[in-house]
Symmetry: C2
Subunit: 394 residues, 2 copies
């Protein structure tokens, strides 16, 4: 999969570990209309602070991204490191440094040593190629077990438009942009305001609906770059059909990458959709779904393949979502396990246990109290999650 | 330890498992002034609903408590079971059934079979004895590994006053009365209004400050019964000295039992105090402390004995607590690890790692932004926690 006018590359820079790809670069032949969405955490890493500032004019031409060190909680020295590494990329590419986005992921609170970048960045630039995005997807992995990419090719106004996304997870995943990076490049020709609206809506319906452990991060970033190289007619207010096709394609990539992140959640063995329906308000439905999705007791029951609906209703009961317990029904896929707040007995439980043995299933909680609904995607909580995170820095 | 006019007992009723104490009874020779505090969960078990109603007049003479089945999410049939088992105790004790409190802990969503109570309750009543509280503490255990009791004897106005408490944990522990039961009996002579104020304040400073996994339960109950058998002068507004001594003794028992519950949290290897100081408001300090205390990433780092302050500051950053990252300092016991938002280097980390090897330590986060503070008590998150909760029902 290639996207016109974009190249990418990754190298082994030895930022934290030796012998693995840990530094990547995305480059557009021309400055691209670029929309960024960043972590909502009060603590924001240097590259996030810098990236937000540089995107005020909605343009970028390159993204330099490293794993191994998050460059977060690193103060002025961290900001200098972000500026310096971005500057190295700008020099090697011979572009304005304001057009370089930097992104980092890894350990928080350690200064980023910029020495490895001096040698690695020119090597990166000379390695840029159209099919370099698979390497890039590898370079941004931390505890991810698989690289995550997603792409689409659509015809808009008779012209082929390409979209290609890469992302990383894998813990600290929670609505509002958790530890995750996602970069999407497209050759569509689209004004900033339209792209911005499409990206915001898409993030809301994808990355903001996934949760692994309720923790959010200091470095979360989604960047979408559109360089116009496909030479489509402009995707603007006067081209609603084109905008619709593009929106669908981009949102599908977001959703696909979001689900890849959940599936690869740390130590995960299951992906579970939590759906709360029949709520009085959208916010309450979302708060109920998120509380269930983040409950340690619910998630360990999923791991144990135990249709323990008592833990689900107890989590709902502390979520702030209003409901009458005696109206609630709960189903695992199509197996109704609770009706009017009461368990449906051993036979239903046996069938529900079968559902829980699957790698993917949906829990539907119907409050029968209104018409609003919400849905989030989560995982089980496993011994491996604990092991991975107890050992992560050592 | 004995408390005048109170007896207790426990038997093997076979409610869920054979061969273990699972049904207990507390009895006061005379109706006792009784204060109850119950779960804030929207979903409330039948015994909680019944207990709240019966305590409207502030009196109780007996508490019947079972483990193995929570009698929660059991509808009308569950309420009938609570009434029936309470009635069996009232009959065997020859007291008004309105004076019987029932309490249950165990699996949610299964009907409570009352048949075992028919044989067991009379046996319980005939086993009542002054030193029966240790057995009772055993009978209310679920995943607890040790029974929890705490007692005190104080002199008030020249008279000896005794207080004795029993409690259970061990998962689903979270501020606002998580899955826990606590019963305290005392022979003090005290009016309802005074006891009520003392209990409310005490719960706020003990059980509401502990958290194991952020989950709250459908059955949480604290009952304090004062039967006046010590024949103290009344502990009322006119006896401030007496009230003070009694308050201190009761609060100490609450705190002691709360810490026992945390120490015995499911799979726990460490008890950690999370203290947020220098906050602009008490609420924000508490929200910061609770978010840190419930973060899966922070708790797995504790388990790994990793002074991973980046996860602490990232959890704080999503807590809703306002702060300026560049002012924050973080200490593990007396080892300052972060100053002005920046790590203090390898030497500090080495010392902090030593602190984390202890079974108990305190994390102090100073926001340097105000004068409010909050403190909560939590545990690490271990593989054993996952195993216990993945297997709990099987």
């Amino acid at each position: 999969m290639k996207v016109k006018g974009f190249t990418a590359a990754a190298v082994q820079a030895g930022i934290r570990y030796q012998g693995r790809l840990d530094l990547g670069l995305i480059y557009s032949e021309v400055p691209a209309v670029t929309v960024g969405m960043f972590t909502t955490n009060t603590v924001q890493a240097a590259p996030v602070v810098l990236g937000k500032k540089r995107l005020l004019n909605g343009k970028a031409q390159a993204v330099l991204v490293n794993s191994g060190n998050a460059n977060a909680c690193t103060g002025e020295q961290g900001m200098e490191a972000a500026l310096r590494t971005g500057g190295l990329a700008a020099d090697a590419l011979a572009i304005d440094e304001e057009l370089v986005q930097v992104a980092s992921t890894g350990v928080i609170g350690e200064q980023l040593n910029t020495d490895p970048f001096v040698r690695a960045v020119p090597e990166l630039v000379s390695s840029l190629r159209e099919d370099g995005f698979d390497d890039l997807a590898q370079a941004i992995m931390t505890t991810d077990t698989v690289p995550k990419t997603s792409s689409a090719s659509v015809e808009i106004n008779g012209v082929e438009v390409n979209l290609l996304g890469v992302a990383k997870g894998a813990g600290m995943i929670m609505p509002d942009m958790a530890t995750m990076l996602c970069f999407v490049v497209t050759d569509a020709q689209i004004p900033f305001s339209v792209l911005n609206a499409i990206v915001s809506a898409g993030v809301e319906q994808s990355f903001n609906l996934i949760t692994v452990d309720g923790d959010t991060s200091t470095n979360d970033t989604v960047l979408v770059m559109a360089n116009g190289a496909a030479e489509t007619p402009w995707l603007d207010e006067e081209n609603q059909d084109g905008v619709k096709i593009f929106t669908e394609a981009l949102h599908k990539i977001f959703k696909d990458l979001a689900l890849q992140i959940v599936s690869d959640g740390e130590g995960t063995t299951k992906v579970v959709t939590i759906r709360v329906v029949g709520a009085r308000s959208k916010d309450e439905a979302m708060s109920g779904a998120q509380t269930i999705a983040n409950s340690a007791l619910v998630k360990t029951a999923f791991f144990g393949e135990d249709a323990n609906w008592g833990r689900i209703i107890a989590a709902l009961g502390r979520s702030g979502c209003q409901f009458q317990p005696e109206r609630v029904s709960i189903a695992f896929d199509h197996v109704v396990m609770v009706k009017n707040g009461l368990g449906c007995g051993k036979e239903a439980e046996k069938k529900a246990s079968k559902v829980l043995q699957q790698k993917e299933f949906t829990v539907t909680v119907d409050l029968r109290d209104g018409s609003e609904r919400a849905e989030v995607f989560t995982t089980d909580l496993t011994c491996d999650y604990v092991k991975i995170n107890a050992d992560y820095r050592s």
